[in-house]
Structure formats: structure tokens, C-alpha cells
Symmetry: C2
Subunit: 455 residues, 2 copies
């Protein structure tokens, strides 16, 4: 019996078990679900035990981490799998066709909160490993599984947990399935994520809102000043105008450009999905290059003065905005925050007082594209999905991936089994049954492929 | 007995009567005070009747107008006095030392809501006219008194009332005391007010907030776009960059410049009052010129994206702001709104959809400085305050003054008896006892001076 045959035979049981996992309302954001979180973690631990893993529920400052390991032979490569069992709040409930915690299959999709993000994807790996174990009696690699309960609430307790348990978590590579395929016929290996630098600025003018009739014309208006400063963040070609911003940015490699060019791109459809009539970005780059491989500087929010109905003729006392830069390797969040501050202080007029709050951020992540791990992952995807994967990146951040690099010194292979339209974080979250099944097969094929890598 | 002697003799009674007027909680903004508004209007009507005026309370779509007239001789000049008996809400109550509707004299000041804005100032004229009537048996001019009850809620019903009663209100000049003196030793005649043009703009990007990781770099960010547009409203010299904006602006006359130069100006004190470390405005003009005689363009409020605590990594769906321009003669609100819209549409990139809402506004007002009315007012001020007044302007608008010009074709003499630090619209509103007394004297001197004007 091969692992794939095992999967075929256990299809019904596997779906029943997935439904059990999905029924836990493991909403990390709400304290009323603390018990559900514990029960979900306990269920996972028992599940691992039944498979022959050593497993325990580890307390943290917040919701517990489930840790499980199967050590076959210390001379084999060790793989650290990461996933999370917590989910986003399901509200608004009235928009769900079936209950968020009452999984149901309709039109080829499993519907439930967390089925795509991330219980279903994590479960693919658990079931893939089970298939290999049951079919062959062992695993060709050592496996460490880290399943956290706070991903949807910023994983505050995870980096300290990793630092504290460096030895336990020591591995050669990490595997994360918490992203999406490129599209319905495009399974993907994701080899990079952008990082983030976050700064908030406040422009202070008069010490209270003052009458724009009495004082308008004589003093700086904090909103006008802030707007002028924001306008100076980009040049006319859409490049970020902060001195030194691009210093650590590497040109996009030929190989990378070639991968992106292979991907289908329909600008009309892209615009339609967003409801915009024209795109806009850095001159000289394609949309994928702009969103995956080039850094940005966006204002996420701005506020100042009177914002209610009608008018109020004031010069406001202050105006503020939140700025985030998406970073690419090798930009550093702290360095970019500092450069932003220096520039903003330089361009702020003397007629206002500028306050800059630097929040830091996360580094970008790039998995070496010439390394053996990506190739191994690609072969497993091919085996599971019957198709070679595309190589893509993502514009967002998964901070834990940077933490694995920083704390454990390992790269991460990102293989997402979901689709970008699976309503992650929205009502009617779903996962195609075929994506779940192919994900399980790819996960079952993965250990043997990773075992081939010389470490 | 001269009018001044009459005022001297009736000092106590006059203050008692003022206190009666101040005790009505005539808050126009709150429907619970509808009865108080009616009682206050009735009190004024009775008061005028007792003086020998014809008087009535005129219903409007909102709070009633009190109208009173004393026609001495139709060949004499006719003066239209304007004031308002409604007041701002007194909240927050805990910041008042004595009750807002329990007038009290402390340290030379009368404290009560409305004592400066505008019951106390209007009462100066009533008592001044009474003094002339009692001392001389008649008035040397015809007097029409229009005291409205909706000034603090935008006077929506007043312009239609004036249009409907054009004949009744026909006059040669209007007198309004609803402004402030220049300072404690600087009684003033105000010969100009700036107008206002109000436009709101909304920049629409994607049809919902989208993830700044996934889409950042590929589409226009409405906040960044709006900021760049705002930045283009001014050039580097602080001039408004909207084409044609200054077309109808007259250069500041030599006489006007000379009047402003006579006024004391302490930049350090000006900055300190506002809590700013440097002033900023249009190059080549002084602070008084900037705030009284030059047009402006200020953002009164801006909003867009996430404004709560912490961060939210989105490209927002939209951003909007409220723009008001302070206008000077002969700029027209509708024309300026149109020019603003044309310019904003020109500078908006194709990657966003721009919505422009034009609210119109009010025209600027300038009383002809070479006319006889200002001189007459200046002589009355001299008589009442013992000091020649300064000639100044105000940066704000009093829309009714433009309405008098537009509907009745008459100019307005603005003689304010209050001080700019009398806490108008704030807790502990006050009026100096000496300013009230001198105001009554100036008001008593005014009819004889206006009677000298050839009409």
C-alpha cells in the first residue's frame, strides 16, 4: 500500500476528522472562547498521539501551543511544520449560509471558519504524514510540528516561545501552508514575502482648534502641512523619495522576472476585482513585480480636524497618519523607520511640531531560489496536484517566517493549498474538496522529497 | 438732561434689565428651549413697547424674529439695527464659575451666556436709543430693529424673512454690534469681513479597503492621492495655486495698509496665544493683511482609512476632506467653488474617481471706507469710549451682512463692544462692565451722528 492508496481508502474518515477539528469555535480574539481553544489544542494532541507522535500542549502567556514530534533517525533531515488552530471571529453571522462552526460540503467546497485559514491546510500535513506512517511504518525525515493558537491575534507569545525552545525546535527547514495557490489551475511554491515598517506621525499646530476666519492665513494648517509631507514621500515616477530607501534593495533577478512572466495576468480582470479604472505604481515594473518584489510606502489612515456632517471652519490643532512601508530583502524595518523619520523631520516646516512614533515591523523573507528545498517542495506539489507548481511571491508579511530565520536560522518553504477567493477572514470561508485532497497528497509526497536533500 | 446724563442716572435699573434679558436660557440649538425662546422674544417686544416703539414678534420657519420700529420723520435717514437674542449652548456646565443663566458681576465683568454674543451688545443699542428718546423726546433718525433667534444655528430662516419684508426693512444703512473691539484700549470700527467658499472632496480608490500587502504598489492609494492634491493647492510662496483664484482680488489700498500699521502687533504674544513656534502665510503680507484682506484655502478636516489604535495594513477605499476658502471682495463663492473643482479634477490622476461637493458660501463684505457712515460711527465711538476708534477688519464671515447688501442694497457699520477674550461660545462668557457702559454711550451718541449723513 502506498501513501496515496492509504489516502484514497481513508477519504471518508479523514473528512469526518477534519469536521471534528472545524467544529471547535477556536476564536483566539475572544476570551469567551478560551475553553474552546483548550479543547481544540487537546484534540490535536490526542490526534498526534494516536498517530504515534510524542505530543504535548505547551502553555504560553496566551493561548497554548500544540507541539508534536516524530523522530525517526537523527541523521535524517528534520522538518519543522508550522500551522495555527485559532481562527478569525466569524461575524457577521447573518452572512453565512451554514453555521461557521457547522462544516458542510456544498458544490465541491467545504464551508467553515478556519477551513482555509489554517485548520484545513494544517490538517493536510497531519494526514499526509499519517499516510506515510501507515503505508511505510515510519517517516523518511524527522518531523516537528508547531501549531499555535494566536496567529490571528498577532502571535505575540510565539517568538518568545521559539527562543525559549530553540533546542527542541532545531530543524533544517520549515514548512508552512498558510498561503494560497496562484489560482485554480496553478498550484504554487511561494519563495518570498515582503516585510513591513510602520511609523505614525502627528503634526501639531495651534494648541487647540482655532477659528479659520480669525487665524486662517497667518498660521500653518496641520492638515495642509501633513498632506504636503505625504506628497513628498513619492517622486513623479512613483518611487519612494525617502533618501536611502532603496539602498538595500536588490534588483529583481532574471530568474524571478522569468517566473512572474510565466504567470497569467489579465489587467482588465485585476482592475475589475478592485473596482478601479486604472492601475498606478512604480514606473518600469509589472504589477507582480510591484506587489511582490518592490518596496512601497502607503498611508493606511489619516485623521485631522472636523470629520462630521457639514462644515466647521477651523484650523485644526493636529493631524496624523499611519504610514507603512512594504519591504523587500535586504531592507531592515528599524533602518527604514529611521530613514523615514529623518526625512520627515527634514521636510516638516518650522511652523509645526512633528511627532514621529516608530513601531518597527518585520523583515522581508526570501527563500533561496537556488536551494534544494524549493525543488523538493515543487516535486511534492507535482505529485499531489498532477501539475508543476508556479513560483510566486506574496506582497504581505508572515512575521513567523522571519522569526524562524532570525531565531532558528532556517528557511521556510511556503506551499499554500487554498485559493485567494476562499473568503479567508470573511463570511462563508471555504476550501475546495479537491484542493484539500490534493493538499493531503502533496503533503504525503513531501517527506520523501525533503529526505532527498543533503543537509 | 442729555442722553449721557440719563444713562448715568439709570445705571442700576439698566443693569437689572440686562440681567432679566440674560436670565432667559434662549438656546436656539435645543428644542427643549423653544418656550424660553418665545418668552425672551416676548420680553423684548414688551420692552420696545414700553419705550414707545411699535413692536411685534414675527414667526418664521424656526424661532421668531423680534421686529421694532420708531419712525420719527420719513425724510430722516433710516437705520436698520441687527442683533440676535439666541445664545450658544452653555455646556460644559461644570466649567462655569456662576450659572450661565444666573448673571453675576465679578472683578469688573458681567458673567453670563450671551452677555457678549449678542444680548449685551444688542441691549447697548436699545438703551442708547432709550436715552436719546427720554432726554430729547424723539429720535433724530428712523430706527428699525431686527433681532433674530437663529444666529447661532446658521440663520437659515432670516434671508427669506428679509426678502419677504423688503419694504418693511428698507433703510439707508445697517448697524451691527456682534464683533469685538481690537483690544482693551482699542475701540474699533470694522470695515470688512472675509467671505467663505466651501467644498468637500472625496477620492475613491478600490471599491473596498484592500490588503496593502497584496495590492500595495499596484494601485493608487486614495490618501496618498488626496494628500498630493492638497499639497498642490498652494505654491511655495503660500499663494493659492488654483488658476484664476486671485482674479477678482483687489490689491490692498494704501489707506488700508496704513490703518493696519497703526495697530499694535506683538508677534511673540500672537504666537504664544496660539501655542505655535512660528507663523506661516502668504509671502509679502503682514499678519493682519493675511487674516483680514487676503484670501486663503484651508483644510478643515480630513479622514480616510484606519484611524484607531495601532495599525491596520490596508489601502483604503476612499479619503475625503473639507476645504474652505476665506474670500475677499470681489471674489464670488460659487465662482471659487467652480474654479476649485476644475483644478482638482485636472490634477486628480486617472487611477482614482473624484467626487466634488460644492456648498457655495458667503461673499466678503467691505464697507466703503470713503463713505460717511464709517465717519459717523467713528465719532459716536469717540463720544462713548473717549477715544478714537481704530479701523480694522475681521477674518471671519457674518453672512447676514452680505445678505443686507444683496437683498436690501445697504452697507453695514460694524461696531463691536466686546473683547476678543470674552469667552464667546465658551464657558464663563463675559463682558466688561465698562465696555457695556461705554457701548451704551456710543449707542446713545450714534443716532445724532448718523443723522448728519446726507442720504
Amino acid at each position: 500500500m502506498t501513501p496515496f492508496e492509504y489516502l484514497k481508502r481513508t477519504e471518508k474518515k479523514r473528512m469526518d476528522e477534519l469536521f471534528q477539528l472545524l467544529r471547535f469555535p477556536s476564536v483566539s480574539a475572544k476570551s469567551e472562547h478560551k475553553k474552546d481553544m483548550k479543547e481544540c489544542a487537546a484534540w490535536l494532541r490526542h490526534h498526534f498521539k494516536a498517530l504515534g507522535f510524542k505530543s504535548r500542549v505547551c502553555p504560553t502567556g496566551g493561548h497554548p501551543v500544540v507541539y508534536a514530534e516524530y523522530i525517526s533517525d537523527m541523521r535524517l533531515p528534520t522538518i519543522l511544520y508550522y500551522g495555527h488552530y485559532d481562527v478569525q471571529p466569524p461575524e457577521p453571522l447573518n452572512l453565512w449560509t451554514s453555521g461557521p462552526f457547522e462544516p458542510e460540503i456544498r458544490s465541491g467546497y467545504i464551508f467553515a471558519r478556519g477551513v482555509a485559514d489554517d485548520k484545513g491546510q494544517t490538517f493536510c500535513h497531519i494526514k499526509g504524514l499519517e499516510a506515510v506512517l501507515r503505508a511505510t511504518g515510519t517517516l523518511p525525515v524527522n518531523v516537528k510540528m508547531l501549531i499555535e493558537g494566536e496567529e490571528e491575534v498577532a502571535s505575540e507569545n510565539l517568538p518568545p516561545f521559539i527562543s525559549k525552545n530553540k533546542n527542541m525546535l532545531r530543524a533544517d527547514v520549515a514548512v508552512v501552508s498558510d498561503t494560497a495557490q496562484f489560482g485554480k489551475d496553478y498550484p504554487a511554491v511561494t519563495f518570498g514575502l515582503r516585510g513591513l515598517a510602520f511609523v505614525e506621525i502627528v503634526v501639531h499646530g495651534p494648541d487647540r482648534d482655532v477659528h479659520s476666519g480669525t487665524f486662517g492665513g497667518a498660521i500653518a494648517n496641520p492638515i495642509n502641512v501633513l498632506s504636503s509631507m505625504i506628497a513628498k514621500l513619492h517622486d513623479k515616477d512613483g518611487k519612494v523619495a525617502v533618501p536611502g530607501f532603496y539602498k538595500d534593495v536588490k534588483p529583481i533577478s532574471k530568474w524571478e522576472k522569468a517566473q512572474f512572466k510565466k504567470l497569467p495576468y489579465n489587467e482588465a480582470a485585476y482592475k475589475k476585482v478592485l473596482g478601479v479604472s486604472a492601475l498606478q505604481g512604480e514606473k518600469g515594473y509589472s504589477t507582480y513585480e510591484r506587489t511582490w518584489s518592490r518596496p512601497t510606502c502607503d498611508i493606511n489612515g489619516i485623521t485631522g480636524g472636523y470629520q462630521g456632517e457639514g462644515g466647521k471652519t477651523i484650523i485644526p490643532s493636529m493631524a496624523s497618519c499611519k504610514i507603512t512601508c512594504r519591504l523587500v530583502a535586504d531592507q531592515h524595518p528599524a533602518d527604514i523607520c529611521n530613514k523615514l523619520e529623518r526625512y520627515l523631520r527634514k521636510i516638516a516646516p518650522k511652523s509645526v511640531r512633528l511627532q514621529v512614533i516608530k513601531y518597527g515591523g518585520a523583515s522581508a523573507v526570501v527563500v533561496p531560489t537556488n536551494g534544494p528545498w524549493l525543488d523538493a517542495a515543487a516535486r511534492a506539489i507535482k505529485a499531489g496536484f498532477g501539475k508543476n507548481p508556479v513560483f510566486m511571491k506574496e506582497g504581505g508579511s508572515i512575521p513567523i517566517v522571519a522569526d524562524f530565520k532570525r531565531i532558528l536560522g532556517i528557511n521556510t518553504v511556503l506551499i499554500g493549498f487554498a485559493q485567494s477567493d476562499d473568503n479567508v477572514h470573511s463570511p462563508n470561508e471555504r476550501l475546495r474538496v479537491t484542493d484539500f485532497e490534493r493538499g493531503c497528497k502533496a503533503a504525503a509526497a513531501l517527506p520523501a522529497e525533503l529526505a532527498k536533500v543533503k543537509v
